[in-house]
């Protein structure tokens, strides 16, 4: 995509918007994630979700407090949710970060994304009487 020199060296609201837009282009085209998202995006209108994600990542990376919500509950109602989807999500997110940001910023996004993914996965799938991490579902 962009040459090494064009990559962004810091996080800004504008950079977050570009990242989220580029990431969801990949998500929509992805064989694993695309259908799962499509099933919960009303009327194929992605803008409300993108707006929410700009605010979310702004809160996480810029501590702006712009996002207010309960992502755990949101994820519990997604049909076809599987623990493995988080790994795929992280691959695409990291790939998009690397295309847009320098290595330091990419690592900062990766650290946050991995923590949050693990936390959501635990909240959704951890059961004290079953092995963790969960076994792949057939």
């Amino acid at each position: 995509m962009s040459a090494e020199d064009d990559r962004l060296h810091h996080v800004s609201e504008d950079g977050i918007r570009q990242l989220v837009d580029a990431f969801y282009v990949k998500v929509r085209a992805d064989a694993e994630l695309g259908p799962v998202f499509a099933a919960v995006i009303p009327g194929d209108d992605w803008q409300p979700h993108l707006d929410k994600m700009y605010a979310f990542w702004s809160s996480v990376m810029l501590t702006s407090g712009r996002y207010k919500g309960n992502p755990v509950i949101k994820h519990t109602v997604i049909p076809g949710m599987k623990p493995e989807l988080f790994a795929r999500w992280l691959v695409l997110f990291d790939e998009t970060c690397r295309e847009m940001f320098d290595a330091t910023v990419t690592a900062a996004f990766r650290e946050k994304a991995e923590r949050i993914a693990e936390s959501l996965k635990l909240a959704l799938f951890y059961r004290p009487d079953r092995p963790w991490p969960p076994q792949a579902t057939p």
């Binding site: 996480v60 407090g65 919500g69 946050k112 923590r115 949050i116 693990e118 936390s119 959501l120």
Partner: protein, 112 residues
């Protein structure tokens, strides 16, 4: 996993954390805040915001008691998402050791 509020929040209760938390997972007691472990998404945004350095990653050793206290009181105390003035004597109590034994109050705070 989850972040947890620990000893130095007691009687300091600066509340800077509640403004930055994206998922509104802080709950207010009379003289400290706690984090709801099932709502926290482990983003870590609150940790550096705390002037009393009272917030830790739940994965750090020796926090079992605090994890339990946070979980217990998060389900009893009211939610807080808007910062108010800290107690007038917050600074005087910042860093005082053993506040749990001496000062902890199980009473709920006022919340939002």
């Amino acid at each position: 996993m989850t972040f947890v509020v620990t000893d130095n929040c007691i009687k300091c209760k600066y509340m800077d954390c509640v403004e930055v938390c994206p998922v509104d997972c802080f709950y207010e007691g009379e003289n400290m805040l706690v984090i709801h472990p099932e709502e926290c998404i482990d983003c870590g945004v609150c940790e550096p915001e705390c002037p009393a350095e009272a917030i830790s990653a739940g994965t750090e050793p020796g926090l079992d008691g605090w994890l339990e206290l946070n979980a217990d009181y998060a389900s009893q105390w009211p939610n807080i998402t808007i910062k108010r003035e800290e107690p007038a004597d917050a600074k005087a109590f910042d860093g005082v050791p053993g506040k749990l034994e001496q000062f902890f109050s199980p009473k709920p705070g006022q919340g939002d």
